[in-house]
């Protein structure tokens, strides 16, 4: 099996002397054991946020968008900030599962399942905001090109918002299919081990009658390749489209040609940060240290450094071009001297510090191989990327063309509530997932046990000496 030979100097992806059965046991354990106190506590916490958030949404829809801190000049605030933030977070999942599959990156196998789950849950959160930010939600369906009773009325295909609708929905559906397809054999595994009839029934349904025949496996791998091919362009298309919301406008600071690549890089940047945040917890809680190894973590940190670098370049370009243009209208864009010392200086510096300064620490192996620092920095990056979107939207709008209409934005409790609500919703989904789904693609993982499992590597190492 030369094709599957891997140089012994490569770090093992599965450590601890695992047998196939050990893997099965380890993956199935979180699902078959009873949930711990910690899990229940965090679920309750998440539920509370979730309920509060949806109360705030109900209030907004009941009284009007005036419940938020927006004004005549700044017509988007936290709503679209959160939308872009959540969509961005989604990106890592698809990247890991699709692009890395095409590149045959084996290390993806232990993280792709959770990464994709995160993608899907994040996109769910993202989808909430474009809906509730509408002044008249009840006629929101008009954004779909439906045959309608309004005579010749049709959607405006020039509008980036409409492109968003298509981009997001496509992205969501493809991700879901890809994710579920990968889950089928693992569901089957759980099904075969299930003891209570109820669990058996559920997992039987989910497993789609998987038999594990050679043919099944062959089809399975074909299909994952095809879907990966489909999903790959989406990784780039979605955030490109989102960036068009700004890039195609005429507002200074929005009207910027480098937005598409810059947004995609930023999305992957924040996506991986979120994957780190979640996996570092999951791996502790579900005792998966042997599968999500320091090697995995380090690789993902490297991805963060690279995409972070792209983002840095984008920032620098924006700042320089703004200054170089010599246009007084550029004095106060979100990356400009005006922003740096202006009333939003705190937002500006939050962006710079969280996205440029802090992640640079990952250049050092010591930091990037340190669980604690990885977790902290990942969190900071998540915050920083939120600020990036906030700055782009709010700072640019608050200092637009005519000084007479300059204002500033301050969120209301409702703004905050809605945001926390989505975080709660996201956590609820992820917690339930961690308890009921196999969080690691065990079948795939087993196929590489012999190649990069620690034991076998050791063996091979001996043979070659």
């Amino acid at each position: 099996m030369s094709g599957h030979y891997e140089a012994p100097i490569r770090e093992p992806l599965i450590i601890g002397h695992k047998t196939y059965h050990d893997i099965t046991e380890d993956i199935a354990r979180p699902i078959e054991e009873r949930a711990g106190k910690l899990w229940w506590a965090s679920l309750y916490a998440a539920l509370i946020l979730f309920v509060y958030g949806f109360g705030c949404i109900a209030y907004t829809i009941g009284t009007g968008i005036g419940a938020w801190g927006l004004n005549r000049t700044i017509n988007w605030g936290w709503d679209i900030t959160n939308f872009v933030w959540w969509v961005g977070i989604g990106h890592a999942g698809t990247l890991i599962s699709a692009v890395l599959l095409l590149f045959r990156q084996r290390w993806r196998m232990s993280v792709n399942r959770s990464a994709e789950a995160m993608t899907i849950f994040a996109v769910c959160q993202a989808a909430i905001f474009p809906v509730i930010h509408m002044g008249r939600v009840w006629v929101g369906y008009w954004v779909f090109p439906l045959p309608n009773q309004f005579g010749t009325l049709w959607t405006n295909f020039n509008s980036p918002l409409l492109w968003d609708v298509f981009a997001i929905s496509t992205y969501f559906s493809v991700s879901v299919v890809f994710w579920f397809m990968g889950l089928i054999p693992d569901f089957a595994m759980i099904r075969d081990r299930a003891k209570t009839p109820f669990n058996k029934k559920i997992y039987t349904l989910l497993a789609f009658g998987w038999g594990g025949k050679a043919k099944h496996w062959q089809r399975f791998e074909e299909l994952s390749l095809v879907l990966a091919g489909l999903a790959t362009p989406l990784v780039f298309s979605v955030h490109t489209t989102v960036s068009f919301d700004f890039a195609t406008s005429v507002i200074k600071g929005w009207h910027s040609t480098i937005y598409p690549p810059y947004f995609v890089a930023g999305a992957i940047f924040s996506g991986f940060a979120m994957v780190q945040t979640l996996l570092l917890v999951a791996r502790k809680v579900c005792h998966l240290e042997d599968y999500i190894t320091m090697y995995h973590i380090e690789i993902m940190n490297i991805v963060i450094v690279v995409t972070g670098g792209m983002v840095t370049v984008a920032y620098a370009t924006e700042y320089f071009i703004g200054w170089y243009s010599g246009s007084r209208f550029e004095d106060f864009t979100y990356l400009s001297p005006g922003a740096a010392v202006g009333p939003y200086w705190w937002a500006f510096w939050a962006l710079i510090i969280c996205n440029l300064v802090v992640p640079a620490a990952f250049w050092f192996k010591k930091v990037r191989t340190n669980i604690f620092w990885t977790f902290i920095i990942a969190l900071i990056i998540n915050i920083g990327m939120w600020f990036e979107r906030f700055d782009i939207i709010v700072i640019n709008l608050s200092r637009d063309y005519l000084p007479s209409s300059w204002t500033m934005f301050k969120p209301t409790v409702i703004d905050v509530g809605v945001y926390l609500g989505t975080i709660g919703f996201f956590s609820v989904l992820f917690l339930l997932y961690a308890r009921t789904f196999p969080v690691i693609a065990q079948a795939e993982l087993k196929s590489i046990l012999k190649i990069s499992g620690e034991t076998y590597k050791a063996k091979e190492g001996d043979e070659h000496h």
């Binding site: 509408m134 954004v143 020039n158 919301d245 000084p403």
Partner: protein
């Protein structure tokens, strides 16, 4: 005994009495056995599955139907349709707007018998122009806080019966007892009213007519008495003047009882003889904001300068500023004119200077609008205190609120045995008076006014009296002729008298025109004036550390209409603050006194408050506003605010009248001490400077305008392309619309003639049902104005690129903490800035950024050039507003109509009567903006179609251009080769706003010209 006849309904029934029962049984073949289905007996036999489904279906349908309940709107058809009212077609009536403070000859637009807008009356020339208050007065008619019923001794009456009995009794009694019968009214220049009062006096010889005005022009009238021997203000006409020097005279505002803006604007046409305007003042007034050269001096120094100028003209002066002004005055001679305000002596001197110059601006006509006489009023007060007043009839005034000694008057009035208040509010006077007669709004009244020499203007009701109200004339008739006398008809009385005054016009013709030559013929001529004494008085005026100058705002005026939400929300043209009056102070003084204005996290203003003590009278917690351009050592405070018991809106602000003792607008014995912090102002615009973006509001000095080529001061933008340099219009991403067929509308805005008065803003609000949002929402920067007037403070030296940024750093209130530590690059300059006003409405771009981004195409381009907004297609993503470079789109954050949270005129039936039925009110969640009054232009087109003719130039109207008395706003059809707007388009002063974005607006601007020699600037 009961009869046993058989009642049968048909012959068949007679044959077979059981027929009915049978038929009934058959009638519903298989009726749904609801009962045995609903009762929970074990064997609910009769109920089949189908019955169940029927029930289910029925109830579902019922519930569904019940759920969608349509709003119930009551409509009442005409039983007999009035011949002159066609539903949907507006009627216009010529009338006179007069509320005791303002006068204007106007056209009233009515729909189905409701007045809904006030238009200027072109026939009346400068007397036929409408300011913000005139425009808004239609809403005061529908004021829900009005007195709705007459009252006697505190209890409301259904009719006037008892009230009249009471008064007639009082009249005869006090007549017998030889007590005074006083009619106390605001200035009332109505010849017919005067005549009527004459009749009243013949009936009751002890009757006296006394005038009381809240803002009385006492000094001006006394000066006129001295100089012209008449208590009437001189009428000025600036149209041929070349120089106007004003000493604290707000002649575009309340000075001289009528604004001079029409002739002022006419004289300021750019060119060799353009009127030059020098303003020497303390407060930053609307007039000062328009000046070519403005000098900030505290009131005492303004007086001194005036004296020096007088001396300079008669002999010589050492004062630098004065001698410069004198030089200019002498150069212009009779083409110059001088105005002064603040004290009698100042007026006298100004008159005498004009006399010496032989100023042509002095027309010799007299303005009769103000009649107050201090001596006379004091006489009345002495009667009052002496208990000699038997009957007191007050007409639409409230001295208890507006007189400095109000409380003293209150107790005195309460002592009057028969006191009648003709009032529109349940205010202090209402409570102090025995009887109350609801005041009839001018739109409900007959009347005539002689505003000035040779001018006669009629007032006619345009709506049936809404409540049981009665105008003073009708009351007088009743009290002369007794109740239910056929002679008690003021219409006939007026008709008879008008014929003697309107120069032989038939009454109906006169009504039709509204305004006509006639009335009084007496004019004014210089006949005296003691210069020495005036000079002495002014020289003796003691300067003080702090000097307070009281003023009236273009919005609220003397406070007569202060319960009018439109006016209360209308931002002050200078400070751009709405819903407040405040103490204006210069930045330097504020610093030295440790008073601050800070911006909060929403970029709204928080100010300190002070306790203001003037001659022992203290006003608590007056908010302080730091006003660039305010003279050091001077303070300003607006009158007319803080009315109690006159409606929620009127209570806004502090009442400054208690300081207005002896009607001195200039007060010297002033002390202030800081009393609090963080008073919440509601600002419309918090960034005061252009931040170096001078192409937004262009201005150029007259010399440059005349002598330098256009490219130096109004260079059209060009873009470097691969095909060389091209004008911005030629470089385009989009296909042009075909606008050749039918009209193509353009709006021209001339920054040179815009005085910032705000009449257009109110006109727009009235025409388009723009909601009032209230102070809290304005403070959230959520005003709903479709048309706003931006005000920028400019500075002398043009700041280079990035200096613009410094400006930003420098304006202290802009950035709470000045991180760069750049100290006031602008601050010093900003102490006496030039001011430039810029009306901004939807620019109706031919390539509109808003149109491309709307996902549902709710906003799209109109055939006639408008950028149209389909409210009921809008889903409220607000993307269009974000992408609008001019930020003219307004979002309905809440329901502003029928919402207790916004308890203004749109929240009560009466107030909603002002709504224009041609324009929908917008609901929550949709975007709205200027429509170029499409309802008006379409109407014109349809009319022309019906008559089968082309639309003439000037027929097309929009509310704002209509209301603009200076002609700054001009609207018209570009496809009409000889339309005015088209000729304006080719002017070399023309530019479009933010041209470089390539939006190709259908609104264009004209560069402002400052008539100034740099040598004169003491900056």
């Amino acid at each position: 005994m009961a009869s046993n006849k058989i009642q049968f309904r048909s012959i068949h029934e007679l044959k077979d009495p059981t027929l009915n029962a049978k038929l009934a049984a058959k009638e519903f073949q298989n009726e749904i056995p609801v009962e045995d289905f609903l009762d929970n007996s074990e064997n609910n036999s009769g109920t089949s599955r189908r019955d169940f489904l029927k029930l289910l279906g029925f109830s579902t349908a019922a519930v569904t139907l019940a759920a969608c309940e349509a709003p119930v709107i009551k409509t009442i058809p005409y039983v007999v349709k009035p011949h002159d009212i066609i539903p949907g077609i507006p009627n216009f009536y010529a009338s006179s707007y007069f509320d005791g403070f303002d006068f204007a000859s106007v056209l009233v637009k009515t729909r189905e018998g409701r007045p809904i807008r006030i238009d200027a009356n072109p026939a009346a020339g400068s007397l036929g122009t409408t300011n913000a208050r005139a425009q808004a007065s239609v809403l005061s008619l529908y004021d829900n806080d009005k007195v709705k019923k007459p009252a006697l001794n505190g209890e409301e009456q259904e009719d006037f019966n008892k009230v009249d009995d009471f008064i007639l009794k009082g009249l005869t009694e006090s007549q017998a007892a030889g007590k005074k019968i006083v009619v106390l009214s605001h200035s009332f220049p109505s010849p017919t009213f005067k005549k009527l009062f004459g009749d009243f006096k013949t009936k009751y010889p002890s009757a006296e007519l006394v005038t009381y005005d809240a803002f009385p022009y006492a000094a001006a009238l006394d000066a006129a008495q001295e100089v012209f021997g008449q208590r009437a203000l001189p009428v000025y006409d600036l149209s041929t003047s070349q120089l106007v020097v004003s000493f604290n005279a707000d002649f575009l505002g309340d000075f001289n009882a009528s604004s001079l803006e029409v002739s002022y604007a006419a004289a300021r046409k750019p060119g060799e003889n353009m009127l030059r305007h020098i303003q020497v003042e303390s407060n930053m007034s609307l007039t000062g904001a328009n000046a070519d050269s403005r000098y900030r001096l505290k009131p005492s120094s303004v007086f001194k300068t005036l004296v020096e100028v007088y001396n300079g003209l008669n002999g010589g002066t050492s004062d630098k500023l004065a001698s410069e002004i004198v030089k200019e005055l002498q150069a212009k001679g009779s083409n110059a004119v001088v105005f002064a305000d603040g004290s009698k002596a100042a007026y006298v001197l100004a008159h005498l200077i004009n006399q010496k110059l032989g100023s042509k601006a002095f027309t010799g006509k007299a303005n009769f609008l103000k009649e107050y006489d201090n001596a006379r009023f004091n006489e009345f007060v002495s009667w009052l205190n002496g208990g000699q007043v038997g009957v007191l009839i007050t007409n639409n005034i409230n001295p208890i609120y507006s007189h400095a000694k109000g409380q003293a008057l209150k107790s005195a009035i309460e002592k009057v045995p028969y006191s009648v208040a003709i009032t529109d509010k349940k205010n202090e006077l209402y409570k102090a008076s025995k009887a109350v007669i609801p005041f009839a709004h001018w739109l409900e009244s007959w009347g005539d006014i002689t505003p000035e020499t040779g001018a006669y203007s009629l007032m006619q009701p345009t709506i049936q009296k809404i409540y049981t109200s009665r105008q003073v004339e009708e009351s007088l008739l009743v009290w002369i002729n007794g109740k239910n006398n056929p002679a008690n008809n003021y219409y006939n009385y007026l008709k008879a008298n008008a014929l003697t005054l309107n120069g032989g016009l038939s009454f109906n013709k006169n009504l039709y025109n509204g305004f006509t030559a006639g009335g009084l013929s007496t004019g004014l001529a210089y006949s005296g004036g003691n210069a020495a004494q005036a000079v002495a008085e002014l020289s003796a005026f003691k300067p003080a550390q702090l000097e307070l100058q009281l003023y009236t705002k273009p919005s609220i005026g003397d406070g007569t209409q202060s319960n009018n939400p439109w006016l209360m929300e209308l931002p002050d043209p200078i400070s751009r603050l709405s819903w407040d009056n405040y103490l204006t102070i210069s930045p330097k003084d504020a610093k030295s006194l440790g008073l601050e204005n800070k911006l909060n996290a929403r970029m709204q203003l928080d100010g300190d408050t002070v306790n203001l003590t003037v001659n022992g009278v203290t006003l608590k917690d007056v908010p302080v506003f730091i006003q660039p351009g305010q003279a050091e050592g001077s303070l300003g405070l607006a009158l007319g605010y803080g009315k109690k018991d006159s409606g929620k809106v009127a209570e806004t602000g502090v009442n400054a009248y208690p300081l207005f003792d002896g009607y001195n607008t200039v007060l010297t014995n002033v002390k202030i001490e800081k009393s609090g912090e963080d008073y919440e102002f509601a600002g419309m615009q918090l960034q005061n400077t252009l931040m170096g973006r001078y192409e937004i509001a262009k201005e150029v000095s007259l010399d440059d305008f005349i002598n330098k080529p256009v490219d130096e001061w109004n260079k059209p933008l060009a873009m470097h392309t691969i095909g060389g340099e091209l004008p911005i219009g030629k470089v385009d991403l989009w296909d042009a619309y075909d606008d050749t067929d039918g009209p193509h509308f353009n709006l021209s805005v001339d920054l040179n003639s815009c005085t910032g008065c705000g009449a257009c803003v109110i006109a727009c609000q009235a025409e388009n049902n723009v909601p009032v949002v209230g102070k809290e929402e304005v403070r959230m920067s959520r005003d709903m104005y479709w048309l706003r007037i931006d005000r920028y403070y400019s500075t002398e030296q043009k700041v280079e690129v990035y200096e613009g940024l410094k400006e930003g750093m420098a304006v202290p209130e802009l950035y709470g903490s000045n991180l760069l530590g750049i100290e006031g690059a602008l601050e010093n300059a900003a102490e006496n800035p030039d001011v430039i006003f810029q009306p901004v409405m939807c620019q109706h771009c031919n390539h509109a950024p808003c149109e491309t981004v709307c996902p549902v195409a709710a906003t799209s381009h109109g055939k006639q050039g408008q950028n149209q907004m389909a409210y009921n297609r809008c889903i409220g993503t607000r993307y269009c507003a974000n992408n609008c470079p001019y930020k003219v789109r307004r979002f309905n954050w809440f329901n502003y109509a029928l919402n207790d949270r916004f308890d203004f005129n749109m929240n009560n039936d009466l107030g909603r009567m002002v709504l224009n039925p041609d324009v929908v009110t917008r609901t929550r969640g949709v975007m709205e903006k200027c429509s170029m009054c499409i309802q008006l232009t379409q109407n014109v087109i349809l009319e022309a179609k019906k008559e089968g003719r082309r639309v003439q130039d000037g027929e097309f109207q929009v509310a704002c251009a209509n209301a603009c008395s200076t002609g700054s706003l001009k609207f018209g059809d570009m496809n009409d080769v000889n339309s005015e707007v088209r000729s304006l388009f080719s002017s070399n002063r023309k530019y479009t706003l933010l041209e470089e974005i390539g939006t190709k607006p259908n609104v264009f601007y004209h560069t402002k010209i400052r008539n100034r020699k740099e040598s004169l600037n003491n900056k």
